[in-house]
């Protein structure tokens, strides 16, 4: 009997060690700052989450082009409005690199035509955009693209707002999301006061980063518009004036003329 107890003594330690370890564990968890691992995706994927999110965003782009991966092409097939017509591929044109017979068979089996989804097919990108935004909340381009498609193509302003509000929380220094929020409040929600707040916020954030001239002009112009709609004429004139001040000698003439027209109208109203 004593021999059995002699060999069994470690068993008596198991229970107190178990309770002690759970107390130590609870104390450690309480003292540690939150690591943000409440999200199941974080627990499953860790830091790979963002890489997968970015990949899914590229997948959404591929879906927009009918499943064709644009990295097949060395040059962007959308060279922009300034490109000469012969550089822009025609719809349905096969963009195929010359190669051996294996590459030619591949180009026949896997389609490499240049096309975009039709209007009733835009929804097919949504799962990948949703996952991209969820997995990598710091991918601002994914946030803006998702909000654009939901708000514009599906006319679902509330969902677009949710995406942008979440994006704003996750990327507090980003001005583009604030601008997009201002755009929704101005155009869709008809709430120029909120739009003014977001455009002002965007201008404050844009001042600390690299912003192109035309983007700055656009921000001042839209701020001016939201102020005008609230009948804040003096502030609107100031915003329009700042937009004009940013214009260089080679400015966007139609927009310049529009701003000047707005200024004239406001001054005309003020004189009455």
């Amino acid at each position: 009997m004593n021999r059995r107890l002699l060999f069994a003594w470690p068993l008596f330690l198991i229970v107190p060690v178990f309770f002690l370890s759970s107390r130590i564990h609870a104390a450690l968890i309480h003292d540690q700052p939150s690591l943000g691992l409440e999200d199941p995706w974080d627990r499953m994927l860790g830091s790979a989450k963002e890489a997968i999110g970015d990949t899914l965003f590229l997948k959404a782009d591929s879906y927009f082009h009918g499943g064709v991966n644009l990295d097949f092409h060395e040059e962007d097939p959308h060279p922009g409005p300034a490109a000469p017509p012969e550089e822009t591929p025609a719809p349905g044109e096969i963009l195929e690199r010359p190669g051996d017979w294996i590459a030619r068979v591949n180009s026949r089996v896997q389609s490499h035509e240049h096309r975009h989804l039709s209007r009733n097919q835009f929804k097919e990108m949504l799962p990948f955009l949703a996952m991209a935004v969820n997995l990598d909340p710091h991918n601002v381009e994914a946030v803006l693209t998702t909000a654009y498609w939901i708000g514009t193509q599906f006319d679902n302003t509330e969902e677009a707002l949710k995406v942008l509000v979440k994006g704003r929380e996750d990327n507090p220094a980003n001005w583009e999301i604030s601008r997009a929020l201002g755009e929704i409040y101005l155009r869709k929600k008809e709430d120029p006061a909120s739009a003014e707040r977001f455009y002002t916020e965007a201008l404050g954030k844009a001042g600390s980063g690299e912003v192109k001239k035309y983007q700055l002009i656009d921000l001042y112009y839209r701020l001016g518009e939201s102020l005008r709609r609230q009948n804040k004429k003096d502030e609107a004139l100031e915003a329009y004036g700042r937009a004009l001040a940013v214009f260089g000698p080679e400015g966007n003439e139609p927009l310049k003329r529009e701003i000047l027209q707005e200024i004239r109208l406001l001054k005309g109203d003020a004189d009455r």
């Binding site: 009918g66 294996i102 089996v109 389609s111 929804k123 097919e124 949504l126 799962p127 949703a130 939901i150």
Partner: protein, 256 residues
């Protein structure tokens, strides 16, 4: 021909007797069910993501089932000692090679057919329509894919152990399927030895990506022309024959 069919029948019974097929079927069914229930921004009838998930799963499981079945036929006969009993019958070695391959292929094809039927049902319930011509071509080309993969795994089974044969077959399949089309371009940027190896793999190994019609099926492109289907069929038959010949070369030198 009857010895070949007799061997094949045993393999078809084997795959449905074991639990692997049922585990794969349940996994695919559950995955498709949950994937079909997902909602994105209150927009209805989104189906392509479901097709993407479904096809990836059924391709992967069908390939794994077929390759593992083909790769363990010869080694298990040797291990169980039934190899000598089998060849005591009037069974030629070429009939053994073809019979084992054929049975593996038909068993894998049967599994794939069941999975594909389940997938089409899920897509039809979600979207209300299925492009039948593209579905048929997708199904047919993946059968050719399975045929080449089964022949490859079968050939490796005469040279390697089961684990090595399965691993090698799956690595080659994944390598060529994912990177096959760009292998030569990538190899061009490497050291000359790596470039030579990449070129060798590129030209010698079968290009499994030829049989992958998922992009066309999911995104509703035009079906393939009949001439291309004929070419791909002949291509698959060529590689199947080549692999079976390689396997037979090893087996014919084996002493009983």
């Amino acid at each position: 021909m009857s010895p070949i069919f007799a061997l094949s029948k045993l393999l078809i019974k084997e795959i449905f007797r074991k639990k692997d097929f049922y585990v794969a079927l349940i996994l695919i069914g559950v995955s498709l069910f949950y994937a079909s229930k997902l909602q994105f921004y209150n927009v209805n009838r989104i189906v392509r993501y479901l097709m993407e998930i479904g096809l990836a799963l059924i391709y992967l499981f069908s390939m794994i089932l077929t390759v593992t079945l083909a790769a363990r036929q010869y080694p298990s006969e040797v291990q169980n000692g039934t190899y000598h009993v089998l060849f005591a019958k009037p069974l030629r070695r070429i009939e053994f090679v073809i019979g084992k391959f054929f049975g593996s292929f038909i068993a894998g094809a049967a599994c794939f057919a069941v999975f594909f039927g389940l997938f089409l049902a899920a897509v039809f319930l979600k979207s209300g329509l299925v492009p039948l011509v593209l579905a048929g071509q997708c199904f047919y080309l993946f059968l050719l894919n399975l045929m080449v993969a089964a022949a490859m795994a079968s050939a490796f089974s005469y040279y390697f152990t089961v684990s090595a044969g399965v691993t090698l077959s799956i690595i080659i399949y994944l390598l060529i399927s994912i990177y096959g089309s760009g292998l030569r371009d990538v190899g061009g940027k490497l050291f000359w030895l790596s470039r030579a190896l990449a070129d060798t793999f590129y030209y010698l190994l079968p290009h499994f990506e030829f049989f992958d019609l998922r992009q066309r099926f999911i995104h509703a492109w035009n079906p393939l022309p009949a001439s291309l289907l004929v070419f791909l069929t002949l291509y698959a038959i060529f590689y199947t024959t080549l692999f079976l010949w390689i396997g037979w070369l090893k087996l014919r030198r084996e002493y009983l």
